[in-house]
């Protein structure tokens, strides 16, 4: 069945996500807020439907997507080659290029290359891990890479002093540093190849019209400047993102 038709008929589009991915999706004072919430509201307006959120831990998101519990996944996720084999990505909504978060006042790291030989945390099985590995190869002494099940734990270990920094996408760590000013600090500039965040949907024929419609809506939102406004609101700066990613760097 055509999912787009079903969504329009129902008047609501269900969006699945995890609410522990600030600043895209998070809980602030008990409310689900973030870039995704604002952006999907705009997409909903374009499609003429209301948005209904389903929040799950990341483990449960994809089985539920396949089971039809919702129509699309917000997330977002870094667009990678392997992931594109299984799922369909929307146009990018933010840059995912990697940068370093360090402890506030740490004089030993002032530019990305300073992490050579140091212990750096990164999320296990993430696109950021691949980027960090590639960057590390190019340094005189390799980075001592520590993998964490989720970034929350790597930030905890950075605070505890077990590691010297965390490598993650710039939008995420910029938010962390803002939240815990005086504890953490971002090391600029970002490094490595450019990569981008996209929303995720199913590749099958049933979902193609819906995904096409979302793509079109997002490009429209980007073209008329609403996207840049939202990026400013949540990241403090806007990004220059391509209209689509056909051949990701990783």
């Amino acid at each position: 069945a055509d999912t787009l038709a079903a969504v329009k008929a129902a008047g609501t589009m269900k969006v699945g996500t995890e609410t522990a991915f600030a600043p895209f999706d998070f809980i602030d004072a008990g409310e689900h807020v973030g870039l995704n919430v604002d952006l999907f509201n705009e997409i909903g307006k374009e499609l003429g439907v209301k948005i209904e959120w389903v929040t799950l831990p990341w483990d449960g998101v994809f089985p539920a997507l396949e089971a039809g519990k919702f129509d699309v996944v917000a997330g977002p996720a870094t667009i990678t080659k392997k992931r594109m084999e299984r799922y369909r990505f929307t146009p990018p909504l933010a840059e995912a290029t990697i940068a370093i978060l360090k402890k506030a006042g740490d004089q030993t790291i002032s530019k990305p290359e300073d992490i050579a030989g140091k212990k750096i945390g990164v999320g296990k099985a993430t696109a950021q891990l691949d980027q960090l590995k590639e960057f590390s190869e190019a340094l005189p002494t390799k980075v001592d890479i520590r993998e964490y099940p989720a970034f929350t734990e790597s930030y905890a270990d950075l605070a505890a002093g077990r590691i010297a920094g965390v490598a993650n996408s710039l939008p995420n760590i910029a938010f962390v540093a803002k939240q815990r000013e005086g504890t953490f600090e971002v090391v600029l500039p970002p490094f490595g190849k450019k990569s981008y965040f996209g929303f995720i949907g199913l590749k099958d024929a049933d979902h193609a019209p819906l995904m096409d419609a979302i793509d079109a809506a997002m490009l429209k939102i980007k073209a008329d400047g609403r996207m840049a406004t939202l990026q400013k609101k949540w990241f403090g700066a806007s990004f220059d993102t391509p209209d689509s990613v056909k051949d990701p760097a990783f």
Partner: protein, 213 residues
């Protein structure tokens, strides 16, 4: 950490408590049935009960929940999150409680069953009126234990979209980046809930009439 965050945790813990309590009660009813099947001595009843216990004790609860939540819709039953959570927890705790009860039934003094046979009670009446109350008395501490385990295991129902205590702590840690404070607070709330459960268990246990010698 602000008072607001603690309030959010407390609100989330309402899910933890209600889902757990409902599941434990439903699970108990199923467990009685299962242990009765196990003890019936008839293959027709014993095998299915064994398979049930093997599955629900063997497969991680997380996977059970995902199956109930995501597979039932495939065969046309669309279960809301809260129902999926309660079904999952109930079936899982039923498997564990059935094993506990089996031990309790095996410990009912044989003479008490014989005296029931002598006054003419049917096997079913003996089960309901003699064995169940005595086995319950014998296994009550184990049942309270199971209740505490389920209260803690209920954190897994977040996988079907319910933001209970642990999930709320994780979500809040994901935006405030204060995981130690949030987890310590969540731990404290669990401790208080479980302490109350143990306290209530102790009170009920003392009210249960007559322990067998």
């Amino acid at each position: 950490m602000s008072v607001k965050l603690f309030e959010l945790l407390l609100q989330a813990s309402i899910y933890t408590v209600t889902i757990s309590i409902v599941s434990i009660l439903i699970g108990f009813a199923i467990a009685i049935l299962l242990s009765g099947m196990l003890l019936s001595g008839r293959g027709l009843f014993v095998r299915p009960a064994q398979i049930f216990i093997s599955f629900f004790r063997g497969v991680p609860l997380l996977v059970q929940l995902l199956l109930i939540y995501n597979l039932l819709p495939v065969i046309g039953i669309n279960v809301p999150s809260i129902v999926a959570a309660i079904i999952g927890l109930s079936l899982c705790t039923a498997a564990y409680q059935a094993e506990n009860l089996r031990g309790g039934f095996a410990s009912v003094p044989r003479g008490l069953v014989e005296s029931a046979e002598m006054v003419g009670l049917t096997p079913r009446q003996i089960f309901r009126r003699v064995k169940v109350p005595i086995a319950l008395r014998l296994t009550f501490p184990a049942l309270v234990n199971e209740a505490i385990l389920i209260l803690k295991a209920s954190s897994l129902v977040s996988v079907v979209g319910i933001v209970e205590l642990t999930r709320m702590a994780q979500d809040l840690a994901g935006s405030t980046f204060l995981p130690l404070q949030l987890f310590a607070s969540a731990g404290l709330i669990y401790l208080v809930i479980n302490w109350l459960v143990a306290l209530a268990g102790g009170l009920i246990e003392n009210r249960l009439p007559g322990a067998p010698r």
